[in-house]
Symmetry: C2
Subunit: 382 residues, 2 copies
């Protein structure tokens, strides 16, 4: 590795372009300084989106178009991040409030300037910020704030991101195909075998990690949406329905697919699979730019409902630097109109405590005409 | 796995005992209802601590000693959780605010009753709760609130937890010893080899997972406190200093150890190791119940400072259901007086962008006389 960077690293220009969109938004909103925080328990991938820093940091953006990065680890920041100023966290006694006050001073903010704090700032903590920033107008917003704005900005992928996703999707499909072959050949026998193969294989392709803890659940556990524990040393792919839900993180971006493995399925299990496959086929043929997320979810709910079944989770979700991003495809309002260049994981599934679960999930790029499949996985019959 | 539970599952009695401490505290504080939330982006292991539920859920505790659990996945809850009422999340349209309002009604809370919301509730969200709970007195506190109270309660382990930790520690030490042997025998050659061995081996011993993403950093990357990416397909244990930071999660509880692997170290690297070992030895001989967390950190800072070095992270931290818990052992106030039955990870380390890093970390139970080592790992000379 030496001084080389992880795969999929993006150019400085991309980060500056993304920050420009934020600066323009700040100017319209009358925000002088915006603060983002990515720390344990308060993860925010928008820092990585805006400057490339892949680890704990604070990021301050000022409306006069300067980005101040305060990383926990200055060495990692020097290797990965693009910012106008790099300030070690230790300079602020490792206190986010202190860093915010000092940065406002460093940037010579005028009195009463509007400072937007992270939307996730807790109520008690916000009161402390307000006190420490008493010379300014500190705000913390959800619905109209920067976090929501960045969710929207990030939901439509730019060229650099789509390029990464085409590669990430290929790696994911390749790994799924290898798993299918190994299951057939008896080389994957346990949940551990499946999970470890993914962990090792994705890194051989330059991925930095899996996108979330792989869920490998044999027939006795596939009824759970998210099996607990996620995977064990027990056998995998035995008689009935097994679920393998995984993704890779390439250049920071997450894929998310689910294979259902069916061995000697019963009639009831075959009907479950057929119903999920039917719903998948129909909904995939409908979604395109301009289609509504609520309509997509209602369509599947209708198909399942007519068979007296219901899906205990959303139909799908955006993916990106996080494995779950905006938009969510669910029946509840408010939904959204799907846009060109959104990247979605679509995952119809049905679960039954007796016969087990079936989920089919792939990733798609939304286009004007429909969906471009980024991954290609499905039912594996053994 | 069938219907069997993961290893280390605790008895109903333990959860009820823990909740009793909370109910007593609520009575003293005049809190009628307390809400906890464990969801994506808002993790709170206190739900697992109080009722055993290991996955997404809301938990409501009422001062009349009733626990209402609202799980995302009812099947998992039925298998693992102990609560007086189990209410599917779907009953509340999957809206935490709705669940809170309806639970207050279900429990027949008197008007103006005090309802304590999670301390992590964001400022904008808290305003929404206040509006929805307009007939009650909704509060959200950090310093004197339930979250802080639970941090304190959880920092001192009970008998069930100490029993789990003795087993978890043995598994961790065993895995570390195997890794040492495999490194010597040339069976672990890459960061992937080391990380995957831990993932597989811990599950063979009944662990549900590792406690965090293993950090395996060869000589070119060991300068970082937390290497990025955490581990890669590159070689591990080459000339110089490599770091392997890992832990296992057994019965929900996390261990956290770090091995430093030294192959043909230079004089400068040997001096770095000797200094970290010296600091470790001295501080371990001092810590016992009644000792101050700040004093412990200052002691190590002094030893490093006299050699013109400084440690870029805390000396140690509590471990438990989370890999980082209260207390933190650092030089900054406010510290705390260490108590009997706290479980601590102590991790002196020094890092240099040129010569690499050395961190030595083990887990200890605080006793009246000193520290009982739960794990036994150290420098591996190759």
């Amino acid at each position: 590795m030496a001084e080389s960077k992880a795969a999929g690293y993006q150019t400085q220009t991309i980060y500056q372009k993304r920050r420009t969109v934020v600066y323009d938004w700040m100017a319209r909103e009358g925000i002088s300084l915006a603060m983002l925080e990515d720390s344990e328990g308060r993860r925010d991938s928008s820092i990585r989106y805006l400057c490339g820093m892949p680890a704990d940091a604070l990021l301050f953006l000022s409306v006069d178009r300067r980005a101040v990065l305060v990383p926990w680890d200055i060495h990692i920041a020097k290797l990965y991040a693009d910012a106008d100023h790099l300030k070690p966290y230790a300079d602020f006694n490792r206190q986010p409030i202190n860093a915010c006050v000092k940065t406002a001073e460093l940037l010579k903010l005028a009195p009463n300037s509007r400072i937007e704090l992270p939307a996730a700032t807790s109520y008690p903590l916000f009161l402390k910020y307000v006190e420490a920033l008493s010379g300014y107008d500190a705000i913390c917003r959800e619905d109209a704030g920067l976090a929501r704005e960045l969710e929207t900005q990030r939901s439509v992928k730019d060229e650099a991101e789509i390029k990464i996703y085409r590669t990430a999707g290929k790696i994911t499909t390749l790994i799924a195909a290898q798993i299918e072959k190994m299951l057939r050949g008896g080389k994957i026998k346990t949940e551990t075998d499946a999970a470890l193969f993914i962990e090792a294989e994705c890194r051989k392709h330059g991925c930095e990690s899996t996108s979330f803890e792989t869920l490998a659940a044999g027939p006795a556990r596939s009824f759970a949406i998210h099996a607990f524990p996620a995977w064990t040393a027990e056998t995998f792919g035995g008689s009935g329905l097994s679920i393998l839900d995984f993704g890779v993180k390439y250049g920071g971006y997450c894929t998310d697919v689910t294979l259902t493995i069916a061995r000697s399925p019963t009639k009831a299990q075959e009907r479950l699979i057929a119903l999920v496959e039917k719903a998948r086929k129909i909904v995939l043929s409908k979604i395109k730019a301009g289609y509504s997320s609520v309509d997509a979810a209602l369509l599947v709910e209708g198909i399942f409902g007519r068979a007296h079944k219901s899906m205990p989770h959303a139909l799908g979700h955006g993916i990106g630097l996080d494995p779950h991003e905006t938009p969510v495809l669910r029946v509840r309002e408010p939904g959204c109109i799907l846009e060109k260049n959104m990247v979605l994981a679509i995952e119809p599934g049905l679960y039954d405590p007796v016969i087990g679960g079936c989920r089919l999930e792939n990733d798609y790029l939304v286009t004007e005409d429909g969906l471009e499949a980024l991954t290609d996985t499905g039912i594996v019959y053994l």
